[in-house]
Each structure stands twice: as C-alpha cells, then as structure tokens.
Amino acid sequence: MSTNNTSMKKHMGLKASTRLSNTAIYIILVIISVIWLIPFVCIVLQSFRVESTWKVGYVIPQQWGLDNYVKLFQTNFPRWYANTFIIALVVAAVQTVIVLCMSYTLSRFRFKLRKPLMQFMLVLGMFPGILGMIILYRVLADLNLVGANSLPGLILVYVASSGMGYYVSKGFFDTLPKSLDEAARVDGATRAQVLTKIILPLSKPIVIYTILTGFMGPWGDFVFARYVSQLKPLGMNAAVGLQSWLATDTMTHDYYTMFCAGGVVVALPVALLFMCLQRYYVEGVTGGAVKG
C-alpha cells in the first residue's frame, strides 16, 4: 500500500511539473507571437480605414470599410499583381524541377566532378547575389528584357541560379535508404522513375518546401525587380508598384491606406499556402522503409 502511495505521489509530481513547464512554454510563445503580429495587425487595420488616406497617429480605424480595396483594383495594381503571380508561379515550377533533379543527382549518382562541383557551388553561394546586379542588368538590357519587358528577364534571373539551392533536399534524399532505389531499379524502374515514383512521394515535405521557397523568393522580391523594371508600370511587380506609391510625401498622403490594402492582398496567397501545406512539414513518411 505504502509503495503504491509513493509511486502515485511521484506520478502526480511528474504530471504537475510537466503542466508547469508547458504553461511557461505557452506564455513565452504567446508573448513572442503578439510582438511578431503587431505590424501585421496594424497594416490590416489601416487597410480598412476609410476616414482618411494618410498616416494617422492611431491604429484602430474610426470608420471601417472596403473603399481602399475597391480603389486598389482601379489602379495599376491588378497588373502588378498579375506580374508577380506569373513570375512566382513560373519560377516555382521551373525551380522545383531543377532543384529536385539536382539534389537527386548529387545524392544518388557518383561521378568524377561531383565533389568539386558541390564545393564550387558552395563557394559561389558565398558571394552576395547583389554583386551581379549591374552586369545582369546589362545582359538583360542587351536582350531587351528590362523596363516594361522585365517579366521574362526576371524569370530568367530567378531560375538561373536555382540549381544551387539543392542543400536541403539533397540532405533529405540522403536520409532515404539507397536500397529503395536499388529495389526499384531491379523491379524495372529507370532512374527517372525511381525519382518520380519512389523518392518524391517519400519526400512530400521537401517537395512542398521547395515549391514554397521557389514561390516566395520572386513573390517578395523588391530590390532586383525594381532595378530591372526601371519603374515602368507594365514591368513592375506588386512590391515595387506598391512602394512607388510612397515615393513622395504627397503620394503617401493619397495612397497610404491603399498601400496597406495592397500589402494585405499580397500577403494573402502566401498565408493561405502556408496554412494548407504546413501539415506536410511535420509528416514523417519514411517509417517502415527499412527495419526499425
């Protein structure tokens, strides 16, 4: 009886301490998320403000409405939005294919220059991309892919370096047992079929991660997009376009709340994407592959 009691006490102690540490963790997390969310909440609130269009000293609108959103779509914004969307979509698609093929190759094939190639890319990756901006602009200008024509130019530049982003997916492929590849190859699969039928289905989280990063890069790009577009309205993406509204104080006066509405519209698809796809980040899929 007495041993029963002690073990029960110990058990209760364990439960209580778990609960305590959980509470502490939640409190910290809540504080962090509040701090993190403040700017977003501010922007969303501003976008619904209709009593004035300029910056004001308060956060909560006195009059709520969708005026900013309605007006937003009467400007060049839809064009910028479409530009951004097309660029991001094409880049995400092409980049994902390149990155996954690259990672699979570096993970599974053994060829002479494999190591030197990886080292070369590692070193190359250490140079900030911004260094190449001027020369890239010259090249794009010669190809007539700047200004109003900047869309294909931007896609070209974003996609060009995607092979170097293989680290995460190669790391993941490396953890998949090689015997799966071998079994599939003996079963009659080509290397490409091994990738599409075995490796990729087992790498859903990484595939989705690759698509998301491929999409996010061009979606949020500002510096390069602005440089290449030269502020020609047809060639701008959403970020560059929205920022152009805040170029002078007078413009800021007229466009500030619309700028906020634009920000919300830009953030929406990415937020939705993340909400839909986040479960793949946590899904463990390799269980049962080999003895374990």
Binding site: P177, S179, L180, E182, A183, A184, R185, V186, D187, G188, A189, T190, Q193, K197, I198, P201, L202, V285, T286, G287, G288, A289, V290, K291
Partner: protein
Amino acid sequence: MASVKLTNVEKVYDNKVVAVHDFNLDIKDKEFIVFVGPSGCGKSTTLRMIAGLEEISSGTVEIDGEVVNDLQPKDRDIAMVFQNYALYPHMTVYDNIAFSLRLKKVPEDQIYEKVTWAAEILGITDYLLRKPRALSGGQRQRVAIGRAMVRNSKVFLMDEPLSNLDAKLRNQMRAEIILLRQRLDTTFIYVTHDQTEAMTLGDRIVIMKDGYIMQVGSPTEVFERPANLFVAEFIGAPKMNTFKAELVKEGAGYFVKAFGAKLPVNGPNGELLAKNGVGSREVTLGARPEHIVLADAKAENTIETKLIVSEMMGSEVHLHVRTTDGTDLIVRVPTIQLSPAQRANLQSGATLYITFEDKVMYFFDPESQENLLFH
C-alpha cells in the same frame, strides 16, 4: 530459368580496395547457389555485380549466355530480395508487390491474379492493404519475397534475406525458402554469412574470404572434403578443432603425434596421404568436435584433458576441454552415449581422456593451409 556465368570478375573500388579477385563460377540453370563467408569477403559485392547495382571492374557476367556487364538492373531480368527488405513505405503491400508489374504495364486483372497468388503462398493475404510500417519483420520479409516472386525473372537473388529476423523466425523462413525454391523452380543466388543457411539451402556453396573463392562444392563436399583450413573451420558448428601436430610416416602407414599421444592414421586417410606422397612432417591437424570420442582410460592413443565447461544441449553435450599444454578443444558427445558414471564425471576440473576417430581427421599444411588429403 537461366544459367549465370562469371568469368574473371573483379571489383576494385575507387580507393583501390579490391573487393573481389578473379571470380570464376558457372551457375547452372535452376541451381541454388549460396555465397557464404565472413563479412567483408566480397559475397554481397559479387551478388550486386550480378544484379547490376555495382559496376564490374573487369571480367564478364553472363546471364543465359548474354554478357550483361553494361545492362541496367532493369534490363537484366533479375529479381532481388534485400536484407533490409527495402519495401516502398508509401505503398500498400499490394502496391509494393504490383510495382514491377505496373512498370511493365501488365493489365490490372493479371496483376491482381499474380499478387493474390504470391500473397497466398506467402500467407500475407490479410495484409495486402496495409502499409509496410504496420507489419512485423517476418511479414515484411515475406512481402519482399513476394515482390520478387511475381517478376518471373530469370534469376532470383537474395542478399542475406534472413539476417534481420530472430532465430526462431529464421528457421521457419529457411524452410519456406526451400519450399519456395521447389515451387518457383528457377536459378537462385543466395548470400549469407550463416553456414547453417548455406548448408541447408544450397545445391552448391561458394565459400569466400577476402574477395577470393576458397572452395566451391556441394554441402557434403565442403563439409567432408574442405579444401583448406579456412573452409574446414568455417563450415560446421561448433567449429573444427585445429592444432599443431606431427605426422609421422612409419613403413606404409602413418601416425600422428599430438599432445604426447600417438594416434594411428588408418583406413582411407592413410591411403590418401600415401597416394599424395606425403612424408613425415609438421601438420595442422583438424578434428570436428563430433569426431572426438571419450576414452574410458588412459592409453597410448588418448590425450589427457581437463574439463573446463560442460554445456548440456539436450540431445548432446558440448565439452570444452583443455589439454595439458593449454590448447582448448571442443568435444561434442551424444547424450545417449554417455554412461551414468560418465555423466556424473562431467564436472569442471574433471580429467577426461579423449581420442580421435582416425577416419575423420584432417591434415593441413601449416604454411599454405591446403588440405593434404585432397590436394
């Protein structure tokens, strides 16, 4: 349903390590060949070269008379079972088994027929819709075998398929592989490090060490006529006792001096030694534990030993004994042959007199380690 021929096959890795040396072997149609040897002996590498998963550095591999060196695994028409099962974790058991057939674009109704046929033989029909992670080790291995069965391929390769199973399951699966072989009636190449598996499964056994073939032969051959000391010690459990001894030629006959005893060499062994022209010399003498017998009393042909440990295995007793000069030997005695008095005597420290059955002594050259009887 095909012969496999390896001619001068070598495997040299990029770091110049030679894994397989000059491997020559003719595997007949429908033969069950076992590659056996300690880890690192090159047996798996050889199998993987036949499968096409490992490049062949030199030499040729032929399947059914066709050189396959440059063919991809998928074009070699082989089936393979891996040690770690290598089941596709995102597919159900059914899809795992059907995978190769789907790649070949076999109609779904035929796939269904084949998969259910294999599942029935292997007793996994109830698990067809489960994912591999929901199966036990034995069930997973059955799925892996099923996946290979439906292929109808020319050669069936198995790379240590039972090594990950527990002892009881391993015995059961071993028996099932024998049945499977009868049913499939195709060429099998089986890799294992377990000599029991090799002895029970193989028509012929290829014993390897450090990338070299030590001996190729039927289980009886390698057991009764080991070509060298390595084979003699590797095949048989507990392993053969080996020790230094002196072979003396006396007239037409021979005797052995070991541990102060004089052991006559009679019968076929003496004749073989004479035929091979072996004179008086140092030898490494081999005697299997089951070929050592207990003597009732000290005699000219007995060796005096002290009993260290006695292991009662049920039908037999394993006696670990030490000779007067400190050599450890193992003696295996059927329990039924022990008199009550002998049984009572099997206490640690007891003095036992042992002798060898001369027909089954082995004589090895201490230098080359070759078997002097069959050399």
